[in-house]
Symmetry: D2
Subunit: 360 residues, 4 copies
């Protein structure tokens, strides 16, 4: 009801404010007997970690995950898995001037409207720091999905006006992690890095797009009416801080095609498996996976915290001028890649378990 | 779990197959004491009804809603409201050739993968007919929202490659219902109608975009983490048949702006009310409404049923050629307008009630 | 949230007021492919039906169930199953004097406190008529359980002070349906019938106890913390009108034993199956079924509507004297037997499906 | 779905195994702005704490609660409240012989049936230690209820065959905490203490009954169908370890009265308030509170761990003889008092918030 949980069967609840003692997640509904590789969890955290490269915030958080429950001798017990991430490098002093001012395009004003009270230190619960807990939980979801062979890979496909104009099939996605911007096309990656560094120097920020591909998803996942697989993926993505849009398969561009161009014709492949000649459907038909690749795009707005003077008002309605201190990302897209993957993994894990219910 | 319900407090459950006895919805959680105007419910149904104009399917359904429970002497009792819509004009014979063939870009194949059984008559539960139940439930949500002054208006903003290049603020949205394509710009509307009729003659179909504006939404609706107001709106829209994408506020285009351009500066209006100078945020910040207009776009793919020969396979994996009979829409956008509004109303009604929980 | 749904995976939502157009239920989450025997559903309805014998209310309702969705060619589709039961024999005139008076030990007063409005005709939504929808849904749950061999049998074990002092193992439960009071011990049954008829003549009413046995439940059903199998059974029973108590296994009497007397010692039976020598646990240990018989008792208070003058107040707080008309049961226990079974079946069906999640 | 959460609006999720790093709870949905008194939370923990008196287990746990999130400057933020209780005095060596043996009337066997894996150290997740997290969460629920004046008091009303034969109205419940067995009648309390000490000397254990009274609950809480206030209270109580039964108001004894004796006649008190002359209803009519005292009884079985040799089988089905070491309670009732109160508080807090939805 208060919206800190996500998923029906594989269900995560996240908790914690950015400048409190800790953040974390409880996963309820992970089946018993799953081997947990803690090194893998930490490697996922490191992909999201602040301070990881020259184009991210320089805030330092080691983001070490401590597992408090649910795992015994390296395997899940079927009980709630609690993942705790202590907060370390908080400098609440950076936020003193914010105590009473509403930062533009942040949640300060709406938070007060909703709750009448807020923790002004760095966004509190509305800080993107909350997504660290999602990445930790997503790592466990990925371990569950691996049992079924499902693989998820996201990458940065646009930074500001710089767009990677290649389909995912034409890219070698294994190159994604070879550069700090997480774009699998080396030339475009370098241009993106240059652009981010240039804009940072101006005290300004950029938006971007993250694309994501899910491979080897079995047919039959997703529920046909409200909990369509892409509807749950869409909600998952739109729940990530700074996201403004979601499209899957042919997306918005597909609206400009004719039906005769857009339809994915069924055929049988050499192995006798039913497949489609094209994949405008993005691997999902009628809300249910069809066994083809699932792919989608996620739009991230430019970071709201800029290093320039900005007018705003305080809670008394008086004009004030803000000049952000803090340490912030010039563009969230590179660090958003593991977050997008984590949320996709949580949705898939949930629907993988839900699919056990469909037939007698 | 099986995904036929939507909403947490104002919660709808829809039921029924397109060619069964009836479809309908149960609304649980509508507060007691709300006056129900049945004429209004029916007028909403008529906006979605097949056969309403020259550019929609010619299938005839009167879509009369019968209220079976929850209302007494014109007012809600606080008990479940059951809305029943009998199916009338089914011609199951039209679907005989489909019994065993997988229609391209339909849910036939995925349905069998999931359930191992299906009602082949016209899509069954995956038919867009299910959305009639949503429109009926949405009408009641609208009546609830009216109590708080909230108004919702959707309109067609693109048909195929024909795009209305005007912002909603520059349009007179009250013109939307003055033409059969539901575009508030009369010139563009006529072009859209012409295009749809031309493409129908070719036995082909079109996609389109529906835009939606929510006015006078109070600040404070939406939950800050997973159930962000725009995340729930996004899921609601993506759960509508044929939807491929959702964006709100500045959307995908906003990713190309700089932070300094995109930020919505707070100010005080003449009435002393805190407001923002621009509204790239689309009325939602940190997942919570801020009192400004909420606006978003929804992408609909071209209709999958085309009046042309199409190759496909049947359940035995054999090649077959389909030539659709049935009576289908050449473009869903005009009839999708009330569906988009209905789902938006259901999300808003739910969050309006949930907001009662935020403070002591 | 408004509490008209029950179950997590096998989930029923009931709707309808006693004197409205109809009552009914929507079942979401029944797996696809289950054969549905409509004759069986009706036979269950007949066990709950008013007017079935000399010791029940003489109100006439045929309680014919109409299936509106979810079943095609005799099998479930995996979609919502809608069960509709039209109301027939309502005599709202019987309730005219009640419009403004609060009947003792009914929900009239609390309903007004909660909703500020009510349908005064016979209890509306708080009428026990709502349980007809549960029996219809429970019949489908029973059909699902049969696939796993699970059998449920309830019977009347006490009427007023007349208590059947035999354990279920010493009774032939197949005799339950051979008499109108549904007590499997013929002598006690006759005494119960005599008692009910005597008390009815006095215009008074009786309470009673219904006992229930679930056989061949596989080990492993139930969740170990909040959703213990007996906790869900308890809630299910306590949600039935007029129920005041629930105990399972050794129950309240078991509190008077020592641990050394109460513990169920594990052993191996002749077939090599692990079993317990006694079954004070009532087939459930730590909230999870252990494969032994599950048994429990449900306490029903005496019917609140009596055919005697009763003092009360009306909504203005003025003293009024009520003399019930209407047609009411002198004791609910005999008709409660199929209701108890139905709710037990719904709980078991839900946990049978939930158990699919426990392991990898 | 996996059942580690309870409540709809005020919703707790507990986590942790008895011999892992920690146990705890996350509360989602507590409104913003509630003052939190940490001393009060700790005092509630101390009432449940092992080692508190001569008649409880001598295991030592300080049960210090650490608040990780959701509270800032002494007030709730409206965000998840995380309560962490580290495990201290675990002696896993005590459980070595149990690794492979199924303790009688414990959850060892059923756990393996359900999950195929278990943490054999002291019950793991099925240990009553889990209830410490409930008491911590319940303390916050109590603070919320205090805002509305609602008070909850439980006490021990029976130990083994020793029953307190007085109604709660005739007792001074403020005496409950003046003795270690938590019985408000000093003479009976002393007899209970003597009995427990005697039975402990024999290496045996006792069951008991806890009674609970809720005062000043406003009318209108509870939902009329499945989520009746007493049905949710019943589930809450039945979800506590070792509970075998629940009854409210007149309970099982009420089944033996006639309707004319049992009905609670409405009248107007001196202050003009509508009230009932008797309260067999236990403060709840039709599932909704009526403003009178709510009272109920909870049956606890004798503790399963006894200090005597017991036969059982191991996972290979071989006979083994157990002699428990560990440190266990001879009777759970005294320590169950705060647990019963905590669960009652959580149910009431949830329904207090849910009641905000009933009317326009």
């Amino acid at each position: 009801m208060a919206g800190n949980s996500f998923g029906q069967v594989f269900r995560i609840t996240t908790f914690g404010e950015s400048h409190g003692a800790a953040i974390g997640a409880v996963i309820d509904g992970c089946p018993a007997g799953l081997a947990i590789d803690e090194t893998f969890i930490q490697s996922e955290m490191d992909r999201r970690r602040p301070g990881q490269s020259a184009i991210t915030t320089q805030r330092k958080e080691s983001d070490r995950v401590r597992i408090l429950s649910g795992i015994y001798e390296g395997k899940t017990l079927g009980t709630p898995i609690t993942l705790l991430i202590p907060n370390e490098d908080s400098r609440p002093g950076d936020y003193d001037q914010l105590q009473d001012a509403y930062r533009p395009s942040h949640a300060d004003y709406t938070w007060i409207q909703k709750y009448g009270i807020r923790d002004h230190r760095g966004g509190g619960r509305s800080s993107a720091r909350e997504t660290a807990a999602r990445v930790a939980a997503g790592a466990i979801a990925k371990l569950l999905l691996r049992q079924s062979g499902i693989e998820i890979q996201a990458y940065v496909s646009a930074v500001g006006t710089l767009t990677l104009r290649k389909t995912y099939e034409s890219l070698d996605l294994s190159l994604t992690e070879t550069n700090i911007v997480r774009c699998p096309d080396p030339d475009t990656a370098q241009q993106m890095i240059d652009l981010i560094q240039e804009v940072r120097t101006q005290g300004d920020t950029l938006g971007g797009t993250v694309s994501c591909v899910i491979r080897r998803c079995p047919a039959g996942l997703g529920e046909p009416v409200f909990d369509k697989l892409h509807a749950d993926l869409g909600k998952a993505m739109l729940s990530i801080n700074a996201v403004k849009g979601f499209e899957y398969g042919s997306g918005f561009a597909g609206t400009r095609l004719r039906g005769s161009e857009h339809n994915d014709v069924f055929t049988k492949d050499d192995g006798g498996q039913i497949t489609t000649k094209t994949n405008h459907s993005g691997g999902i038909q009628g809300g249910i996976s069809n066994g083809m690749d699932i792919y989608f795009n996620v739009a991230f707005k430019p970071v709201a915290t800029i290093m320039q003077d900005q007018e705003t008002v305080n809670s008394a309605g008086e004009k004030v001028v803000l000049n952000a201190k803090g340490r912030h990302d010039p563009c969230v897209a590179p660090r958003a890649v593991p977050i997008v993957e984590a949320m996709a993994a949580i949705v898939l894990a949930d629907h993988l378990l839900r699919a056990r219910m469909g037939q007698l």
